[in-house]
Symmetry: C2
Subunit: 243 residues, 2 copies
């Protein structure tokens, strides 16, 4: 093998890894936009925007397939070791989380139509926006942690997931209260509950990605002590206390 060929091989391997990282950044940006627009569509009862989000989901599905195929080709062809191998396995995991975030965004968009005719009090939409902003910050920061291979950033994202859970719990209570006040709110509030739950799940996926970044950088798994469950499971809003 001439020196030229060796260089070429190495450079093209490096380019393959860069391609994966680039694709993850692209999918990440797309997932962020989908979630942002889905929540905006819900807040403004914008059915046209919701439709666009729904059809945009195909792009993330295709992105995940492309990353999966490319990653497996690279493993077969290059037989990467250590950090390179973790990098490739990491992109498979991250693309799966991003694809699922897109699904959750699409699911919010699909619910817009069911809530349009029975607009709820402004406070609910504000609550939804607040959780969504936090989840989107998590997503942005974890994509940043991936791009810069920052373990410090990983820890920040992990810690902040509790804030999303707390906001979700409070919105859950609020929505149950509106349902009890007036049965005409029940359908819409149920869909909004699922939207809130979807956003809480998006936060969990950001945390998953944080754990994958940690694994790529350090080669070890983070301890599993962080509970990823929401805390609403035992909430019982007492009907008797309602006005």
């Amino acid at each position: 093998m001439t020196e030229h060929t060796a260089q070429h091989t190495v450079r093209s391997y490096d380019e393959e890894l860069k391609f994966l990282a680039h694709k993850i950044a692209e999918m990440g940006g797309h997932a962020e936009r989908m979630v942002e627009q889905a929540v905006t569509a819900m807040v403004n009862s914008d059915n046209a925007l919701a439709q666009r989000v729904i059809s945009d989901d195909l792009i993330l599905d295709a992105g995940q397939r492309e990353i999966d195929e490319k990653a497996i080709t690279i493993i077969g062809k290059r037989q990467p070791m250590a950090i390179d191998l973790r990098e490739v396995i990491g992109t498979i995991r991250i693309s799966s989380d991003l694809e699922r975030i897109g699904d959750l965004g699409k699911n919010i968009a699909k619910r817009v139509v069911a809530v349009t005719d029975t607009r709820q009090t402004l406070s609910v939409y504000r609550g939804l926006q607040t959780i969504a902003e936090l989840a989107l910050t998590q997503l942005k920061d974890v994509l940043d942690a991936y791009a810069t291979r920052s373990v410090q950033q990983v820890n920040i994202v992990r810690e902040r997931d509790d804030e999303i859970d707390a906001l979700y719990t409070s919105l859950f209570r609020e929505l149950l209260t509106y349902m009890m006040e007036d049965p005409r709110n029940i359908s819409a509030c149920t869909h909004l509950l699922f939207c809130a739950k979807n956003i809480e799940r998006i936060g969990d996926h950001a945390t998953n990605i944080a754990e994958t970044v940690y694994y790529i950088v350090t080669g070890s798994q983070l301890p599993a002590e962080r509970p990823k469950e929401d805390q609403t499971h035992s909430i019982v809003v007492d009907e008797a206390r309602q006005p």
Copy 2:
């Protein structure tokens, strides 16, 4: 390398692959049991059983970690190609679906306490059991498809996911109706709605596993035409139509 060493190497590689397959079967059996017991706990308001399901989830978390670490070690050490590589990557994917199924089972178990004091009509619990049985059949069949590398079985599982979606949609409507009939049902029915949604998601994870099995056996990805979204997003139960 002596012939003896070569044989030993090959045999131990084979044993490593078998270990992964065995671990998946073990995790699968554990996930099945968790879901089954979680639904039984919900149906019988059995808080002690629910607590056992919640603590059992740790076993699946540990299983996923073990499979992940082992799979990556195998890739690094053995540099598998073609079907062996797909096998190893496949176990990473499947263990992640099984771990998530465990989470969903745990989430059902956690909601038992919130529903205990406001028992709902028997029909709701029957509905929940019916979807759960179907989802568990899906899980059993897809683990069977994995064990026997059966593409035919994969298709059966994929087709049947529609039945789960249909049952979920009907239970969703029923629960909304009970909420509208009596506001005292709202808290409990909301938790039961999330339980139904969790079971519907378990069905989706069984479908994901089916797709991974297809990929392991054939080396190609199944077309993405199957929608994995539930169909309840546009349900609006009209309060005026209630008794």
